[in-house]
């Protein structure tokens, strides 16, 4: 069997001497959209920083199609809850930023990014500043920027939670379609069980309260396709202790 697109092997995470998580093993198969559900403060962002190579985990390895990329940034794309668009750049330049950073000529970068604006539902916003866009549109622009980082494995940390309820559902359905269309493999972290069921084919439950001395771990895994949405919800609620 081929190696998964992205795989974490028994990661140990810490904030300095402070233990956050232990034995975290998760993977995303080729072309899959998997989710991790966890409550606030369980160390989700720390886990993603480790997967993105921004921080070296205290133990364990991160593999990209079998290649060890532990502590190496830039090999998987990463999108955060906040859109983090640069306020001083137009939407077009924001989207093209990963290309410009990589040394692509500015005009070529703009042309490549501009050609994708319609696909991402952003047509007409090229010359606007980020402050002129709604939250949903800003997330679309951030997603286009993430896509132009040119890695086909994407990590998304609570990408829709800052949006209003209607935009959130709309955007995540659109996003799931885009992941399929673009052939990406994605791992999404969310605290929203319904969002995880709506998006993911497989859902990991990551739970613990490191601030209270309970080290977080992966406490379970649910296959939504084989279990069905309702059964998956019951199992997830049970694993999170919200029965």
């Amino acid at each position: 069997m081929a190696a998964p697109a992205l795989e974490a092997q028994s990661l140990t995470l810490s904030w300095g001497d402070f233990a956050v998580a232990e034995g975290v093993s998760v993977h995303v198969d080729e072309g899959e959209l998997a989710c991790i559900v966890g409550r606030s403060g369980c160390g989700k962002t720390t886990l993603f920083h480790a997967l993105a190579g921004l921080e070296k985990p205290a133990g364990g390895r991160v593999l990209l199609r079998g290649e060890d990329i532990t502590g190496v940034p830039g090999r998987v794309s990463y999108m955060l809850q906040k859109d983090l668009l640069l306020p001083s750049r137009s939407i077009l330049d924001n989207a093209a930023l990963p290309l410009i950073v990589r040394g692509v000529d500015r005009d070529a970068a703009r042309a490549k990014a501009g050609a994708l604006f319609a696909t991402f539902g952003l047509e007409g916003t090229e010359g606007l500043w980020p402050s002129q866009l709604s939250g949903g549109m800003r997330q679309r622009a951030a997603l286009l920027r993430t896509y132009l980082m040119d890695n086909d494995v994407v990590l998304l940390d609570e990408p829709f939670s800052a949006l209003d309820a209607i935009t959130r559902v709309e955007l995540r359905r659109w996003f799931a379609g885009m992941v399929r269309e673009l052939g990406l493999s994605a791992l999404v972290i969310t605290h929203d069980v319904d969002e995880a069921i709506d998006l993911g084919s497989r859902i990991y439950v990551f739970d613990g309260m490191p601030r209270k001395g309970i080290v977080s771990r992966i406490v379970g895994e649910v296959d939504v396709r084989s279990a069905g949405a309702d059964a998956a919800r019951t199992t997830l609620m049970g694993l999170l202790g919200i029965a």
Partner: protein, 261 residues
């Protein structure tokens, strides 16, 4: 539309009222003319002595411009080094703060003593007073950048220089211009103080001369010019800010829309 017009008329009326009271006090003979010239006397002194005042103004502006330019460059370099090297910041911060507690008026004579009566001591004094607001506002601005943006750029494998240019510099831009406005007023005032203590030309030199001849109307005329220079310089920097930070204009407008709705 009532609010903006009120915001313009009230300050204008306040200034006009102060001038009217001043003029009345002089015209009614409440204050002797040799002690406090009336506003009209000041303006007529400015008009009659304008060619001479203008030639001195050019010197002061030249010194202030040169000193401010060097001060801004020095402040920028210090802020970048403080942002880049923590040890440097810890070492330099108390020193530059201390440097600002030394009164300008106390070191100016020393500078004249060390560096003579030419333009050099003036420029040095202006540099010493103007680098500080720029360095502090820029260093604070660099530090105010969202850590998540830096993390994001690291996942793009951005170099430190790219992170600086794309994230830190724009984040500091607004604070930089606030600091620059303060530095600009310091530049004019410092130039005049340095000229008081010795020199061939400049508004400070003109002031000492007219004071010695008890021409207080001309003295006030030069104060008027100094205030106008400071205001003009601040206005110029305000315009530069609008040109350099077009997105801030839009953000303010968008913010206004949200408030209004």
């Amino acid at each position: 539309m009532r609010l903006p017009s009120k915001q313009k008329t009230v300050p204008a009326i306040a200034v006009a009222a102060v001038l009217a009271v001043w003029q009345a006090a002089c015209s009614l003979g409440l204050i002797p003319a040799f002690m406090l010239p009336s506003p009209i006397a000041v303006v007529s002194a400015l008009v009659s002595d304008f060619p001479l005042i203008w030639s001195h103004t050019v010197t002061t502006l030249l010194e202030a411009g040169l000193g401010l330019a060097i001060g801004v460059v020095l402040g920028f370099i210090l802020a970048v080094l403080m942002d880049r090297y923590q040890t440097f910041r810890l070492a330099i911060q108390p020193l530059i703060t201390l440097s600002q507690t030394v009164p300008t008026i106390a070191i100016a004579p020393l500078l004249v003593l060390w560096l003579g009566y030419g333009i050099l001591p003036k420029v040095v004094l202006i540099v010493l007073t103007t680098f500080f607001p720029v360095a502090v506002s820029l260093a604070d601005g660099f530090a105010s950048v969202d850590r998540d943006i830096i993390d994001l750029m690291r996942t793009m494998n951005a170099s430190n220089l790219q992170i600086f240019v794309y994230a830190k510099l724009p984040a500091a831009a607004e604070q930089f211009f606030s600091g620059l406005k303060i530095s600009a007023t310091y530049a004019i005032v410092s130039a005049v103080i340095a000229e008081w203590l010795g020199g061939m030309s400049g508004l400070g030199v003109y002031m000492t001369r007219v004071r010695k001849s008890f021409s207080y109307d001309k003295m006030f005329a030069s104060i008027l010019v100094i205030s106008a220079l400071s205001l003009g310089l601040m206005r110029l920097i305000g315009l530069l800010e609008r040109v350099c930070l077009p997105w801030k204009q839009i953000e303010r407008k968008e913010h206004g829309k949200i408030i209004a709705s």
